[in-house]
């Protein structure tokens, strides 16, 4: 349920689902997101779901804050809400030292060997909370409590495309080269965002489940060529 709706600027609703960041809260956010998208309410021009918030932006020429707030408050989310089939996606990941840029930092801070870290990280199903920041980037969780670590003190100016990183309870994939501060422990050759495929541009959608499995460098190169 939406706990509170306020304005973010003069052309957006800021819907707060509570302070808790867990799958239950996030599933509520996704439910609203998918329903509002389906309802095609006139004037709405963007929806941004995140862990525990939903931002609804609108065209101020068509509707205003007060009118849209009323509409959103009156929405009845049915028990069987309209939803996509959520998939399980397996991501091949090479964790060789040349890709695992922060494995030493992780190893010394967490007091675990590289093998132990990867054992706790790989082959587990993670829930996709949201996508964004850069096109197609998935925010996944929750990772094992023993391998949680804060961001780098000084973020990298350039994290390479394909990098797989962790921070706090979350893990993600850098879909483009980008600045960033997550702890990098591998790289995937798989294309997560495809601008040529307008119907299905992103591989991982909110609500999907994702599993990382290890591949060697040879397989990495082979898959990279295919993409």
């Amino acid at each position: 349920m939406i706990k509170n709706i306020s304005n973010l600027g003069d052309a957006a609703l800021y819907c707060d689902f509570g302070n808790e960041v867990n799958q239950k809260t996030n599933t509520e956010v996704i439910k609203y997101f998918e329903n509002i998208k389906y309802l095609k309410i006139k004037g709405i021009n963007n929806l941004t779901p995140s862990y525990n918030k939903l931002i609804i932006s609108f065209d101020l020429n068509i509707i205003n804050f007060k009118e849209l707030k009323k509409k959103i408050e009156d929405i009845n989310i049915p028990e069987k809400y309209i939803k996509k089939d959520h998939k399980i996606i397996k991501i091949p990941t090479c964790c060789d030292d040349e890709f695992a840029l922060d494995i030493e930092r992780l190893s010394s801070k967490l007091k675990l060997t590289k093998k132990e870290i990867l054992e706790k990280y790989l082959n587990k199903e993670y829930f996709c909370y949201m996508t964004g920041f850069i096109a197609g980037m998935p925010f996944l969780g929750d990772i094992d409590k023993k391998i949680r670590l804060e961001r780098l003190e000084t973020p990298r100016v350039k994290v390479p495309k394909g990098a797989v990183g962790i921070t706090e309870q979350f893990t993600n994939i850098y879909t483009f080269e980008s600045p960033g501060g997550w702890n990098i422990l591998g790289s995937t050759p798989i294309k997560i965002f495809d601008q040529k495929n307008e119907k299905q541009p992103i591989l991982i959608n909110p609500g999907d489940r994702v599993l990382f499995y290890e591949i060697n460098k040879k397989e990495y190169i082979k898959l990279n060529e295919k993409e």
Binding site: S6, N7, L8, G9, D10, A11, A12, Y14, V21, F33, N45, N46, L47, T48, P49, S50, Y51, N52, K53, L54, I55, S57, L60, N61, N64, F65, M130, T131, G132, F133, I134, A135, G136, M137, F139, T175, F176, S178, F193, Q195, E198, P201, I202, P206
Partner: protein
């Protein structure tokens, strides 16, 4: 056979195809993009008789040098721009807000923006380019939009769609208004900041830093101090949102911003002031004025009426 064709002899600093922007893709990480200064964008299209959402070339600081390779081109430039035209070998100083007819061999040299950032180059008929996710707007960071999501490059050639060769002469008397205040609304984390900082934020001047582009505008001034939390749970962003990271220097999100961010939001620039905000070049100072939502809505109506009024004069 299409024959109206231009050749890029110099690309300029940040020349991209833009239109009214891209709706409904925030949730996959694609921002709105589109022309930064919407009013000048609309005026440019109207001056060459185009529909409202025809793609134009947007440039920053220095524009491209273009040569007509074949056929005819009728163009107009909007903004506060210095440019020259070479027509039949003769050099003419160009005027903004006026359309010109060029033929094969002629050139347009967009030299610089005066005390502003963005300008627009529109052609009658529009460019023959491909759209992507429902818009021509280029988002370079994710390679989305016209020209395969890239900036315009030297030696590239672009076709122009057919248009009536006899386009009426059009012009507009218009002065780009200079900014005094940028009006803002309270952000969702307004109460994270010390009263003293809020006071300074809404009364002192802030310098627009060189680290500003289509993604964001970084400001320097009194440090805005936070007593609660310098990071929040990552959540959606919008253009105009003012975030304050731990270092206390505000960053305003602009049209190509990352769709999700985790810094507290102190304020949001009102829609009516966005065009003027983005035209403020690095080295200039801006001041913020805090207003209420009702007033922002009224100011937007006024802005919209002024824009329509200008367009109707063309």
């Amino acid at each position: 056979m299409k024959k109206n064709k231009i050749l890029v002899l110099r690309e300029g600093i940040n020349s991209t195809f833009q239109d009214l922007g891209r709706n409904n893709f925030y949730h996959i990480g694609l921002p709105f993009s589109g022309a930064m200064d919407k009013r000048n964008y609309l005026i440019a299209n109207k001056l060459v008789g185009n529909k409202r959402n025809e793609a134009v070339i947007e440039f920053a600081y220095q524009g491209p040098l273009l040569k007509i390779e074949d056929g005819n081109v009728n163009f107009a430039i909007s903004g506060d721009i210095k440019f020259n035209i070479k027509k039949n070998g003769k050099l003419i100083t160009g005027d903004c807000y006026k359309n010109y007819n060029l033929s094969k061999g002629d050139e347009v040299d967009i030299i610089s923006t005066n005390n502003s950032v963005y300008g627009y180059f529109a052609v009658s008929g529009g460019f023959d380019i491909k759209n992507n996710f429902g818009s021509f707007s280029t988002h370079v960071r994710s390679n989305v939009g016209a020209n395969n999501g890239n900036k315009i490059q030297k030696n590239e050639k672009f076709f122009i769609k057919d248009f009536k060769v006899k386009v009426a002469s059009k012009s507009l008397k218009y002065m780009n208004s200079k900014i005094e205040y940028i009006r803002i609304l309270k952000g969702t984390n307004f109460d994270y900041f010390f009263e003293q900082s809020i006071k300074e934020f809404t009364s002192k001047e802030f310098l627009v830093s060189k680290l500003s582009d289509r993604m964001g505008m970084r400001l320097e001034g009194p440090k805005i101090k936070n007593f609660k939390e310098t990071n929040i749970r990552s959540e959606g962003l919008l253009k105009g949102v003012i975030q304050v990271p731990a270092d206390g220097n505000p960053i305003i999100m602009l049209s190509d911003h990352g769709t999700i961010g985790g810094y507290p939001k102190i304020g949001v620039v009102i829609s009516a002031d966005y065009d003027r905000l983005v035209q403020t070049p690095p080295g200039k100072k801006i001041k913020f004025e805090l207003i209420e939502l009702k007033e922002a809505e009224k100011l937007y109506k006024l802005y919209q009426m002024e824009t329509e009024n200008l367009l109707s004069q063309i």
